[in-house]
């Protein structure tokens, strides 16, 4: 078998050295009741060719984003990733190395993490960022737990415009501890009044930016109210490319900013692996979960980098840790850093403008259809209210080879939202794609007599 180096004579020699007569001897502690004489009932080994055929057949059954007009967003976005990114992350020394616990021989990893932390902090307008978390949704939950630790209070006020999956994850994780989650409802046509829900037990208020219907909202006034109440403002960013164009959350008074970094450097990958971003103010540093990379010097006085402030983490504090997290999202954070380096700050701003321009074009092209646009404003995602049910429409358009966004009921199953459709446009969407979508929608609506 191609991944196993030993020959039968190797095994014989090694058993002799050990003083065992067979491998079975080495498993003597296994209870007889659990002893298996034969391999488990699964297929036996396969060549590369056979494996490729098998998995390619599964792959062929799926409709890929690059092959069709593609308007699906909802917390994961299709952006173009430069070829350099995928090449670099496949280098042996990045792909197959371990967590940098021995810093002398992992300065490569540590230095890119330091670069990553700087980029994230800068993009968010915050003072310090960690070396990544699993994804945006778990980072958001960790932020609420952190706010509870910092303020020593329990309640979290959650915007109705936070991604439903993120709300769901919070309910699952935070509902289990002492926290109380106060969910504002998802409303259209009016601004949320989250400040009205503040009281003396509020640890934090959580908002999304742009929100999950695609609308960027200025939360500076909310930040002031939250701070006056002694609470922290947590801002969640699910489309990090938006920060190329929108005012930074840190500049609007956010105390903790978390996000999903997938849009930069990482493909759609059917939902994972992604990369969670987490940043906060310097004064809350010790309450921040996750790995941190810091600068220092070595015995010769040369600058180097190490994992630091580890005593917050599980492998040292154990039951008093800030979180149980162990891995970060290393390789995905590297992909983010490389792409961000290739773009540069100005490049990200230009990319963001291109995204926004695509949506302006789509919205303009939709005007003759007189479909109601639920956003007062937008970045690269909008929510429409159709005169017909959205989910069956999306199925029909998929059958015609157009991936026409997400019916809101896919994320928030309520009869109130049956006609709502979420559409995203990134820089990969062409004029032809937009025309195709709009004419398909026009046909669908006229067939329905609308």
């Amino acid at each position: 078998m191609r991944y196993l180096p030993h020959t039968p004579s190797d095994r014989v020699e090694m058993l002799a050295k050990i003083g065992a007569s067979s491998i079975d001897d080495l498993f003597k502690d296994v209870p007889r009741a659990a002893w298996l004489n034969d391999p488990v009932d699964l297929p036996s080994h396969a060549s590369e060719l056979e494996v490729e055929r098998h998995l390619s057949a599964l792959a062929a059954q799926n409709m890929t984003a690059s092959n069709v007009p593609f308007f699906v967003g909802g917390g994961a976005y299709k952006h173009h990733v430069p070829a350099t990114v995928d090449y670099v992350i496949q280098r042996s020394e990045f792909l197959t190395s371990y967590t940098p616990y021995q810093p002398e021989i992992t300065q490569g990893t540590l230095q890119y993490l330091f670069e990553f932390q700087t980029q994230v902090a800068e993009l968010f307008g915050m003072e310090v960022a960690n070396a990544s978390m699993y994804d945006g949704s778990t980072a958001a939950s960790e932020a609420v737990l952190m706010a509870q630790r910092v303020t020593k209070r329990n309640k979290a006020v959650i915007s109705g415009r936070l991604h439903p999956h993120y709300r769901d994850v919070m309910a699952t994780v935070i509902g289990k501890s002492d926290g109380q989650l106060d969910y504002a409802p998802l409303l259209f046509g009016q601004d949320e009044d989250l400040a009205a829900r503040l009281d003396s037990d509020t640890a934090c208020v959580v908002v999304q930016y742009p929100d999950f219907i695609g609308q960027p909202n200025d939360f500076s006034a909310l930040a002031t109210a939250v701070h006056e109440a002694g609470a922290l403002l947590i801002v969640v960013v699910t489309e990090v490319v938006a920060l190329g164009l929108l005012r930074a959350p840190g500049d609007m008074g956010a105390d903790i900013v978390v996000g999903e970094g997938q849009s930069i450097g990482n493909g759609l990958n059917f939902g994972g692996p992604y990369v969670g971003l987490f940043a906060t103010r310097q004064k809350y540093l010790r309450q921040m979960p996750g790995r941190l990379c810091g600068e220092t010097v070595d015995a010769d006085g040369k600058r180097g980098f190490v994992l630091t402030l580890s005593t917050r983490e599980q492998h040292i504090r154990r039951d008093k840790a800030t979180s149980n997290i162990c891995t970060n999202s290393g390789l995905c954070a590297l992909a983010f850093t490389i792409h961000m380096t290739l773009l540069g700050g100005q490049g990200l701003t230009r990319l963001a403008r291109l995204n926004h321009e695509r949506m302006i074009r789509l919205v303009t092209a939709l005007e003759p259809l007189k479909i109601e646009l639920m956003n007062a404003h937008f970045f690269n995602e909008v929510t429409l209210r159709l005169p017909i049910a959205a989910a069956p429409l999306v199925e029909r358009l998929a059958a015609r080879g157009i991936l026409a966004g997400i019916p809101l009921t896919r994320l928030s199953p309520s009869t109130d939202f049956e006609n709502y459709l979420i559409l995203a446009t990134t820089e990969v969407v062409t004029d032809a794609d937009i025309d195709q979508l709009v004419s398909a929608l026009a046909e669908e609506l006229s067939e329905a007599g609308q």
């Binding site: 196993l4 058993l15 050295k17 065992a20 080495l26 036996s44 998995l55 390619s56 057949a57 599964l58 792959a59 062929a60 059954q61 409709m63 890929t64 994961a76 299709k78 430069p82 350099t84 670099v88 792909l95 190395s97 021989i105 992992t106 490569g108 990893t109 230095q111 890119y112 700087t118 994804d135 945006g136 991604h163 999956h165 994850v169 699952t172 501890s177 920060l243 164009l245 929108l246 005012r247 999903e260 059917f270 939902g271 692996p273 990379c293 810091g294 220092t296 492998h315 039951d319 008093k320 979180s323 995905c332 961000m340 380096t341 540069g344 490049g347 230009r350 321009e357 998929a398 896919r410």
Partner: protein, 501 residues
């Protein structure tokens, strides 16, 4: 005075930060010029982002130079205990990059991604069959996340019995990995430690004393973190179940028994599986991982959303609370680490059932070969045989003035990544060595010879070799105290190095 003018040493090249070598008006991406349209963003525009860019050649050079400072399993043995640093097959990478598996969005209509759901279902089948468990949660994003999943399922089962108010204690061995008590504490349980016997296993007498009707669960690793199989495990499972508790198994060491022993046959109720350990998905310098968690009949109803369900001819995804009222909730947005599912399934298909059993056999063989070859000169903490990893403590270094850390740093100069140090906490100055099955006999022999030579050097009083190590790595020992006392966690111009005097 530096040996060279450039500061480089042959192929070892010094490299600054992108903030020191890049420029704000440089970019390695050609983007169209955006049309000049009035913005409709509704909020103020971003201030210019103070992050530099690099052209493509500069970026490639920068990251390639960084990569050259890293050790990796592709380059050499990584004997890290409980990490299972095995070879990462490149076929896995090729498969994970098939557009049909990578260029698909989690929220596309389910009818357009039947192949992806079929793949998840097939992976689930392999994992549940290998473990003899009826159900699995695929969504946890890493091992620790899988622990959280398993313990939440247990918590949900206890709540369903109306016993949540009084079952608040979790039993954990002293030798457990830190994530175990951290996970229990996160869920509001108190943690009670169980002591070990002289031969490194859970003390069943102590365990039984600590059982009671207020115990929610035990969290055990098997083989345990000392590299030993818990021979009383069925008795332990029975005792915990009899007391009304549940058995969580940390699957980090599954590589020792995959294809040989099925945790379901041992009485396990929940076990996370680290795909980045046993199933070869790459460690990536710290992540991403993936921690699917298998569940017993008792816990299956509480498995979190989303999960794949067979629906007549095809597959659907159960995502909403109304469709799975007993599920304890959702652990993460979207569906889990699909990229790692593809890699792991590619690996499983390659090895097959027969190959996976051989994996465990060779992993255990290799660890025992190392134990047998070093136990005369180093202090093995427990008599063999061990499972897939061998544990030593630092008593063989007593009186030399050299500790486990020094020994490990000297190993770096010899071209090896050090073994796991100071874990588990139950022995002094622990050195935990897990070679994995992908090391050849020649590779093991070279490691063994080097270790024996280092031991001899230590006993011969060559303290400087150890105290000054590493001397040949890209960096000498780093000042971790300074990094913690004066944290510098991002670039600020000018950098710390300038102010360092």
């Amino acid at each position: 005075m530096s040996e060279t003018f450039s500061g480089n040493r042959g192929l070892q090249l010094e490299e600054g930060l992108i903030f020191e070598i890049g420029a704000f008006d440089k970019s390695g991406v050609d983007l169209a010029v955006p049309a000049d349209m009035p913005l409709r963003i509704g909020v103020a525009s971003r201030e210019p982002i103070a992050l530099p860019g690099l052209s493509e050649p500069e970026a490639v050079r920068h990251y390639v130079r960084l990569s050259q400072k890293n050790h990796s399993i592709d380059a050499g043995l990584y004997p890290l205990g409980s990490c299972t640093m095995k070879h990462n097959p490149r076929l896995n990478e090729k498969m994970a990059r098939l557009p049909g598996l990578s260029d698909i969005h989690p929220l596309q209509p389910v009818s357009t991604v039947q192949g992806a759901l079929a793949l998840m279902d097939e992976l689930a089948h392999w994992l549940t069959t290998l473990t003899a468990m009826p159900a699995i949660a695929l969504s946890p994003k890493a091992g620790a996340h899988g622990e959280l999943c398993g313990m939440m399922a247990i918590q949900a089962a206890i709540a369903a019995r109306g016993e949540l108010a009084h079952r608040k204690r979790v039993l954990v061995p002293e030798s457990a990995h830190g994530t175990n008590p951290a996970t229990a504490a996160l869920l509001g349980f108190s943690v009670d430690e169980i002591s070990a016997t002289e031969d490194g296993r859970v003390d069943v007498v102590d365990l039984k004393k600590k059982l009671g009707d207020d115990v929610a669960a035990i969290m055990l690793t098997n083989p345990n973190t000392c590299g030993l199989f818990e021979r009383d495990i069925i008795e332990i499972a029975d005792a915990v179940h009899a007391a009304g508790g549940y058995f969580y198994c940390d699957g980090a060491n599954f590589n020792a028994i995959v294809g040989r022993v099925r945790p379901g046959d041992l009485g396990v109720d929940a076990m996370h599986i680290n795909l980045h350990k046993t199933f070869s998905t790459p460690h990536g310098g710290g992540g991403p991982g993936s921690g699917p968690t298998v569940l017993s009949d008792r816990l299956a109803p509480y498995a979190p959303r989303p999960f794949v369900r067979r629906d007549g001819q095809g597959f659907s995804l159960v995502e909403h609370a109304d469709d799975a009222p007993e599920a304890f909730g959702r652990m993460v947005a979207f569906h889990g680490q699909m990229g790692m599912f593809v890699r792991a399934l590619s690996y499983m298909l390659s090895h097959g059932s027969d190959g996976l059993r051989q994996v465990a056999d060779d992993a255990v063989l290799n660890a025992n070969y190392i134990l047998a070859s070093l136990q005369d000169v180093m202090s093995a903490s427990y008599a063999g045989p061990c499972m897939h990893e061998a544990l030593f403590d630092d008593s063989f270094l007593r009186g030399t003035g050299i500790d486990t850390l020094d020994f490990a740093k000297a190993l770096i100069d010899e071209g090896f990544h050090p073994m796991t140090m100071y874990f588990p906490l139950v022995v002094h100055g622990a050195m935990l060595i897990e070679p994995t099955e992908t090391e050849s006999k020649a590779s093991l022999d070279q490691f063994i010879a080097t270790m024996r030579a280092l031991v001899k050097a230590a006993l011969d009083g060559e303290t400087e070799r150890f105290h000054q190590a590493p001397r040949f790595a890209p960096r000498r020992r780093l000042d971790e105290t300074r990094a913690a006392r004066q944290p510098v966690l991002r670039y600020h111009a000018p950098s710390m190095a300038a102010a360092a005097e």
